[in-house]
Each structure stands twice: as C-alpha cells, then as structure tokens.
Symmetry: D2
Subunit: 175 residues, 4 copies
C-alpha cells in the first residue's frame, strides 16, 4: 500500500509569535513575560536530525500575547509566510486569537500548508502540553494539503471549523 507513496523530505519553517507556549516566569516581578523563545531549545530536544535542520528554519517574528495582536502584527505573520522558502509552516501563537490570525492567513490564499499551534500551559511550566503540540503541528504541516489549520488537543482542525471553548480550555469543532 505504501509502495507508491513517498513521504516528502522535511522542509519546514517554524515561526514564533509569542503566546502562552513561549511565556517565561519573571522572578523579579512574579509575572509571566516574553524573553528569548524556548523554541530553539525545544527543537534541539526533539532531536531533529542535523541534515534535516538545513530545511527546518526557525524564525523569531513576534513575542506577543495573542490578545495584544493587531492587524499590523497579522500582516507581519502573513508576510513571513508569503516570503517563506518553505511551503510547510508552523506558527506558534497564543490561543485566544489563533482563529483570527488563521482567518487573516486564509484570506491571503497562499499556496502553502500553515498550521497554527500554541499551548494551554507554557512550555516551561509543569504538565505543559506545548511540546506535544509542537510535535503534532510539525507533522501536520508536513502532511496536510495546502491550507490553514489549527492544531490543538491532539486534533487538526480546518481554520474555519474550530472554536476555543474558554470554559473547558480546549478547542473543538464549531457547532
């Protein structure tokens, strides 16, 4: 069955924009904040193979709470996707406005596979879902057809068929 099917060679861009995934704890203020992205360390931990790394590009684009994300920021994400040499892209994003950014990217009609993911608990906090979500999104971006998707809770959603259930802290198919 898999005879005539060949998995494509990895060629992936991972774009950090901030969000819960990438929050750090500031011991001086007691607040969560952004500093250098955790993603480069997370990708090393994932043991992405050296030869593959040539085609796995990390880009630290923004470091924002998704509630602070404005049209100009979405434009910058769109530009980054447009200019990406890689046609398969993971965007790490805050969960609150992930869908709005996905809509903006879908409107741009890029012929690329763009998977937005994030986390309900920061990567650096106990029991975080972030590292699983990153792995999930990296696979989805490599395998799904061109389009814009949201990957959360172990599921891939079409961008226009998902909503965040804020009471339960998870993403679900739109009703």
């Amino acid at each position: 069955m898999s005879k005539n099917f060949r998995v494509p060679t990895m060629s992936l861009r991972i774009i950090a924009t901030g969000g819960t995934f990438d929050k750090h704890y500031d011991p001086l203020t007691g607040n969560l904040f952004f500093q250098q992205s955790v993603l480069p360390a997370a990708l090393r931990r994932a043991r992405i193979a050296p030869q593959a790394e040539q085609d796995c590009v990390f880009e630290a684009l923004l470091a924002l709470d998704s509630l602070d994300m404005q049209d100009e920021h979405r434009d910058r994400i769109k530009q980054a996707c447009l200019q990406s040499a890689q046609k398969r892209i993971v965007v790490v994003h805050g969960t609150d406005t992930m869908r709005e950014t996905a809509a903006a990217l879908a409107a741009a009609q890029l012929d690329k596979t763009i998977v937005l993911t994030g986390a309900m608990v920061p990567y650096l906090i106990d029991d975080s879902d972030a590292f699983f979500n990153l792995g999930f999104a990296c696979a989805a971006a490599q395998l799904a057809q061109p389009g814009v998707y949201i990957a959360m809770n172990g599921q891939l959603f079409d961008w226009d068929n998902v909503q965040k259930n804020r009471e339960q802290g998870r993403f679900e198919t739109r009703r």
Copy 2:
C-alpha cells in the same frame, strides 16, 4: 484551497509495547525498567479533548526492550492492529528493532495507517524527545495514507526507507 478538504475526525488507537520511551528508574536497583506505562498520563497532559477521547483508545500491549522483541511479540502487535476498530494507529516501540516490527506489520498488508514511534531519551528523563515524538506520531497517524511509517527526529519515514544511525542516535533515510 482548504475549501473542499475536511480534516477527518480523530479516531486513533495508541498501543504501548515498551521501549526507551516508557522506561522508569528503579531507586532500589539503580536500573531502568518497565512498570505502568507513562502514556495515559502523557495523553492527559496533551489535553486530548474529552469528546475526542472516546475515539482515542490506549492499549497497554507489551512492555519490552525492543532488543527482546521476538516474532511472537510482533505477531501480537500485528493482531492488535488487525483487530483495532480504529484505522489510525500509533505504536510506541523501542528504537533498536522498530524497523523489524514495521516490516512485519507491512507484510500483513492491513488497510490501516500505522505509525511507529519511540524515544532516544525516556519520557521521565530530563530533555526527553518522547512527548514531541508522541505528538508528531498522533498527527501523522491521522493524516498519512494507509501504510506503515516510522516517526522520529521530527520526520516521517516510509518503513522501508529508514535506518537507525547508531553512532549519531538518530533515524535517517536509507542510502
């Protein structure tokens, strides 16, 4: 572009067979060993949504070092895949003989998507790749065509086009 494409609803079986991924530390002997699988806790941590969990079945089948895996064990994995109500399956397996088990599963010509994954560092040890790999495999199993695959190092490999590079501790395309 994504208009006529709908991501399938999750329907996934995750089968534990042991391997580095699932090793624990025994404080009495100082050795690594198998006890209750870490996978149920890992899946909760991944925040797989309740309604989806109905279709995300976990099965603790074996708890073996992959070097100890014999034909009879591979038969049991094959049977588990054959009998699985879910057509999309993740098998968590030791890395040393992952390819041999994949070959046995491919020979069975099941009309299912089976993704074998594992870890270079146990889930419970610092800097482990396990949780990323699990996320990656869960996405790959939901998205790839029927066939048998190996997911490691952030890449999906066709089962017959991969080898473990033991000097570098990673999987790579066969030469």
Copy 3:
C-alpha cells in the same frame, strides 16, 4: 569530635501559607493562583522516611500572596506555631513580606526554632529554587537554636539581619 554529639531525631512541622513557592498556573485564565499545596507531593518526593513522617507534620494553613498578608494572617501563623507540638517549624511563605511575618513571630518569643522559606520561582515552574529551599529549611529548623530565621539563597539569616534585594531578586545581610 562527633562522639558526644547526637543529632536529634526529626520532629518537624511544615506550615504552608502560600507565596510564590506554591503558585500554580491556571490554563483557563493564564494567571498564577493557589490551589492544593504542592508541599505534600514535594515531601513524598524528598523520600522522608515513613517512621519519620510520624514526626513530620504538614499543615495547610493559608494560601496567600505575601503582599496580601495582614496582621490577622500573621496572628494565625503565630497561633499555629504556638500550638505546634513540634518545636521545630518550617513556614513556607511569600518572599515580599517574609521579614514582617518573621518579626511578628519573633515578638511572640516562642521557645521554638522557626525557619521561614519561600521561592523566587514557583515549585511547578522550570528551574525553580523551591525544592532546594525546602530541603535547606528542613535541615535548618532541625539544627538551629530556638529563634526565628529566614532561609533563602542557600543561606540562613537571623530574621532581624536580612533584607530582600528586589533589584537582584535575592536575600542579603542588612547593611
């Protein structure tokens, strides 16, 4: 030298009052908050021996940011220390007003060894100092003379000879 000296048998009370040490992350709001104290799990992890546990009592007294701690709360901590059957007491407390609580306890002139400790980074967040501080305070409470102390940064301070350096996020001898 150690011939005529016998280390006393452990008899220790550990009192939780909240503070950074014990903060959890709330995935629904993105804020840090208090829920069930991490201390019972931390003490199990410390492998405090079963027979000793009879004399190692944990008390969940308060769950407050130390900035919210008022005189009435300090009275409750004082009462808890006064009524403690154990003469050696660790109080886990927020760092911002640790010194004020220590002063209130010192004023009570209890014939007990009371060691206040806390953390600059919550126990559940990456790279936390909390578990070290807890171990340090448990030893200090068992070994120091009656009095009130603050244990932070791997040092034991007399309560009236310490200040928090807020710019550097550490405790130091008063100048």
Copy 4:
C-alpha cells in the same frame, strides 16, 4: 532568644564524587553514566547569592558509582577535605558505600563539618530527591558541629548511627 546568636556567614565547599545523584542518561547506549556534573547548574538554580558564591566553592573530584569506590578514592576525598579552606563541606556521594566513606573521613579526625549526601533518584530523572537533599546538606554543613554526617530522607544522621535499608530504599538509624 536569637539575640545573641548570629548565623555564621556562608563558607562552604561542595565536592562531587559521582553516585546516583549525578548520573546522566546516554541516548546512544541506553545506560546511565557520568559526564559533566549537574552540581554547578543545580547551585545556580538554588540562586546562591553572588557575593556568597565567593565562599561557596564547587570541586569536581571524582565521578564514580559508589560501588566502585576504593580506598585510594576515599584517600582522595579525605585529602580534598583536609586541604579545603572551607571548614564546612558537602560531599555528594553514591548511597551504597556512603557510610564507608564517612567512616574513613571520621577516622581522619578533621576539625571540619562534613556532610555526605546523595540521591535515590538521579537529579535529571523525574521525581528526584536530589535537589532537596542538596539543600538539606548545605544547611546541615553550615549549622552542625564539626564531625561527619550523612544527610538523606530529610534527616541528618551521625555517620556511625545510620544504615541504608536496601529493601525500602532509605536511610535509618542503626538498630
């Protein structure tokens, strides 16, 4: 009560000799082994204050399983303690022969406070007691009278009044 008592300024030497505390996982072999000690990172995590660090010296002396520790190694530990400018010393050691090394150090009759500690679970493995034990030993070394001690399970033991209970994986007073 604490009026006339002043906690001494920290002046501490921490000597690594190996043991479970300091074991790493080797992804290439699947075995636990020694490489660069985790202690410098652990001490930074403990946020030992900069000015204090001048008096908190770390020494990577040995990297041995305690079962491999011979008389010559114990001589080296004894020499390191003898030559230490700090009179308060923590020795991180494997648990299996901690008592034998303690006996050798006690026989040397050094006028120093030497606290041996270790871990039942390596620092880098989930649910490890190591960081607590390190904190405990750092306090005990600063506060106990000159002599040789073993710090495990949240208790300080005189070196000649402790035994490892191998069935239960803990240290206890000798019977």
